[in-house]
């Protein structure tokens, strides 16, 4: 029959699991540098799925727009494309007018 997990330091040592990076060895022994990380497994009792996703949406959207769109994407991507498109179509139109009569 199963027993309760041990308390105290022994329990901490048992439950604290940091994984050696198997992928970095790829079957061979890694020499020198050893990379360490902590891997968590979250309990479903401790989480709501997508918690806080729809909270304060207008602020989140505005923040994202200001960070990426307003001062970066629009002036450095959208405007150059639109400007060059306008310039070329305007040039072609003027050439057509020039050759018309």
């Amino acid at each position: 029959s199963r027993q309760r997990p041990p308390e105290g330091e022994a329990e901490t040592e048992r439950v604290f699991k940091a994984r050696k990076r198997h992928s970095s060895t790829m079957g061979k022994q890694q020499v020198g540098m050893r990379l360490k990380e902590v891997v968590y497994t979250l309990s479903p009792f401790e989480q709501n799925v997508m918690a806080g996703l729809f909270k304060d949406i207008p602020h989140k959207v505005m923040h994202h727009l200001k960070q990426n769109v307003l001062f970066d994407a629009i002036p450095f991507c959208v405007l150059p494309i639109a400007g060059i498109g306008w310039f070329c179509s305007d040039y072609i139109e003027k050439e057509k007018q020039h050759h018309r009569y």
Partner: protein
Amino acid sequence: MRANKKAFLTSFPFLSDLVSKTSSGSGILPRPMEILLSQKDKGYDLLSNEDRIQMERKELAKRFVKAENLYDPKHLEDRPSTGSKRLSVLNQPGLSIVTDHLIDYPAPVNINYFWSFGSLAGICLGVQIATGIFLAMHYTPHIDLAFLSVEHIMRDVEGGWLLRYLHANGASMFFIMVYIHIFRGLYYASYVSPREAVWCIGVVILLLMILTAFIGYVLPWGQMSFWGATVITSLASAIPIAGDSIVTWLWGGFSVDNATLNRFFSLHYLFPFIIAGASIVHIAALHQYGSNNPLGLDASVDKMSFYPYCFVKDLVAWVSFGIFFSVFVYFAPNFLGHPDNYIPANPMSTPAHIVPEWYFLWVYAILRSIPNKLGGVAAILAVFVCLLALPWLQTSEVRSSLFRPIHKKLFWLLLADCLILGWIGMKPVETPYVEVGQIASVYFFVHFLVFTPILGRLEAKYLRNLGKA
């Protein structure tokens, strides 16, 4: 109370089996969730919900306290590759690769949906290989029969229309996913050390994809197929001395003809498997040091197992991709194609405008922007050399564009430049398209060869001054 009840029940031998079989926990969690979490292996199945929550809170608190001792080897333990004994088959030597790279692979916790485009590209490769194998069962690689065999597939073969449209639009989807994947790498500087190999293998995969797609487009033997093949293969004649011999060798004759079609069919069947092998090497190179993350910082201190978290995230991306793909396949299957390719190839009639498929237009624009043939070929080669050299051109100590305001703006300029090049590629060779194409081509090289090296130092100076102000 419940724990006591269970302890009482399990003291009877025959009942203990019943209890363990009916629920491996307290019966609160649905069974699939319990299997996922391996509560039985942790020995938590005897606890009540409240006890379990308390236990896990303590664990998390202790882990947080222990974080300062992270580099103390005493706290590192080897653990079995997967916690659950039910998956022990995956710990066998041959299958442990699945465990290490698809289940237990430690992924950064803060990766966003731009990290799903790699797996999406893999899905597209799978779709192309699967549909391609079935198409090849009905296709005939002969100049008199190829076009008709494609029509036979479309009209007579059961589901042939779907196979054809999946394959044709699948190629476009493959390139969309790969281009977004590449631009993600550019934005977050995923190509920087120690992931140079990942980037370089990726560029090789892009080259293989371009070759495969070009060869595949010839197979329907429409007007664009024939004349596109003629234009692009003729570029090899620009090579000094041996150019003409190389072109004759490529064609298998003195023009694009039956021999060319046959060998293109054979190569088009072969290359996707080379791409698949290269993709495996690409993933292996990535897993050597782990994935990048949007912050560009070392993510070792906070990672999660690939399964189930990244798997579920990718599943959302795959379903969304499926919807996007289906819109093209079922509602606009010829939107991304050229209507001239529904005319059988005629060597005696040249189309007014020979244009490749949309995913080649940016390269085509760079090629055409240089009046000299050899210069154009050299420019295309230079594009891939710039891409390959990018990890060593980068001088910034900061990785992600989130913390590099100038690089962020130049990234958007590069994106605009590539879109403009793509647009110019489909336009006729006349003013003002020629001049705009030339400026855009020059900017492409200036971005990689001038801005990228200089920017590292410039941004460091700018941010230091910003800090002082």
